[in-house]
Amino acid sequence: MKKLINSPEDVVREALEGMELAHPNHLRVSYEPFYIVRKDAPVKGKVALVSGGGSGHEPMHGGFVGMGMLSAACPGHVFTSPTPDQMFEAGKVVSGGAGILQIVKNYTGDVMNFELAAEMLKEEGIAVETVMTDDDVAVEDSLYTAGRRGVGLTILMEKILGAAAEKGMPLKDIKALGDKIRKSGRSMGMALTACTVPHAGKPSFELAENEMEVGIGIHGEPGRRRVPMAPADQITEMLMEPVLTDLPFNKGDTIILFVNGMGGTPLIELYIVYRKAAAIAEKHGLKIARCLVGSYITSLEMAGASVTALRVDDQMLQLWDAPVNTPALRWGV
């Protein structure tokens, strides 16, 4: 295992220290327990957005803390859901009297830990709502399983709901908007290489030079199937077709198209993927109103990419365009 780290135990704390030093205008960090809150928290009279999950997905979520996006992010150990006390303590710090919205990716661990935190916060008299993301079409959806994973859509949801909160939208409405976004976005990802959890010290799976994993999540787990390597255009089709047909997206729909790198993929390759993804979307008669290309929700140093499409209306687009000022996403300010 070759990493720019000191020891597996210290990865999360030291990265948080680096973030705090690098972004003093955006955020403050607590180390016991771990959480990141926006510099000006609590913002009086506005809904506070709290998200979190395992570490190793940077910039998600800590990089999205700041004006117009998250009020707090709670990082667990690498690929491990955070514990309830993190969301409880962070929630108390960011609560501005208008309630808390938790944005939770659908993983058994995340769901249960955020549920516990919500109960604890409610006992403190704080109103809490939760929206989930479960946009990964690689996983079959069924009442009898854990359901689909939350992946790329999470970033788009955090941006849009963050803008809504900043505008003063009440908790109930933000929750409803979140549920709508949940139902309007789909994603799928693939990997060229595995990644190595620092504590494990070895890659979570082995891939031959001519193989790739399609249908991966964001935790270094193998995908739904292992298939032979293919050119970028073909890979992009393997991701886009299931995404577009699942919802389904319909001719004439307006979308935000998001091509995401898994952490070890250079930007030049993401643009090659975006080129094809945009062409496929257009072929389906979709109008790409906005896009995002970059490594925003990652699996450590995994090489690979994911695509996310979100059907948007005017309100969502306006909120997408609204000012945001975080370490990883910034415009309008």
């Binding site: 395992g54 491990t80 955070p82 996983v139 979570s204 270094g220």
Partner: protein
């Protein structure tokens, strides 16, 4: 043996912690195959913290002790296993409030409560390839083994281990492994294995 005292319970938790530390790599490897490879680290981290807590302050009764275990696991393990094992021990605590010791019936009752809590939280049924698959048959074995704690826990441990092994051919329907669909088949469930370790150390503690 017919009485499981607070000091026995402390010994159990410490033995479990040692066993989890020893088996950390195996648990994480099982998790890497069908999950995200952190189950060993999660459990070790949690139980190391629990042992520290137990060393720092004595517990008045089993109820207080298990509550400490549960709260500590909740705030240190994370992942799916954190709330599941945390809630499990909190439930053991609730059902043991004020009790200085367990007899066989109390033990079975507490553990059944723990299982119910796991199922309430995680909504896993028997056969979904989770820790429930190890715990549930173990409690049946324990309940059928009579009043001797050594015999009862021995039967439970054997049943849990056997059931953990038998999770391999199952298709996962809960937790991360469910994302793999058919590819989850052929690998044992990590949580069923850590659960078996808990019951094996319970058994050796009752023998000692």
């Amino acid at each position: 043996m017919s009485e499981f005292s607070v000091s026995k319970a402390v010994a159990w938790i410490k033995a479990a912690s040692a066993a989890l530390e020893k088996e950390e790599t195996r648990l994480s490897d099982l998790d890497a195959a069908i999950g995200d490879g952190d189950h060993g680290a999660n459990m070790r981290r949690g139980f190391v913290a629990v042992v520290k807590k137990l060393d720092a302050a004595e517990s008045a009764d089993l109820g207080a002790l298990y509550k400490t275990v549960g709260m500590t696991l909740l705030s240190t393990v994370g992942g799916a296993s954190g709330p599941l094992y945390g809630g499990f021990f909190l439930e053991l605590g609730k059902r043991s409030m004020g009790r200085p010791a367990w007899d066989a019936a109390a033990m079975v009752d507490a553990l059944k409560g723990g299982l119910a809590d796991i199922q309430k939280r995680g909504k896993a049924e028997l056969g979904d390839k989770t820790m429930v698959d190890a715990l549930s048959p173990a409690l049946d074995a324990m309940a059928g083994a009579g009043g001797d704690l050594a015999a009862a826990t021995k039967a439970a441990a054997a049943a849990a281990r056997d059931a953990a092994t038998k999770t391999a051919p199952l298709l996962a329907r809960k937790g991360r492994a469910s994302y793999l669909g058919e590819r989850s088949i052929g690998h044992e469930d990590p949580g069923a294995n850590s659960l078996a370790l808990l019951l094996e150390t319970l058994s050796t503690t009752c023998e000692a």
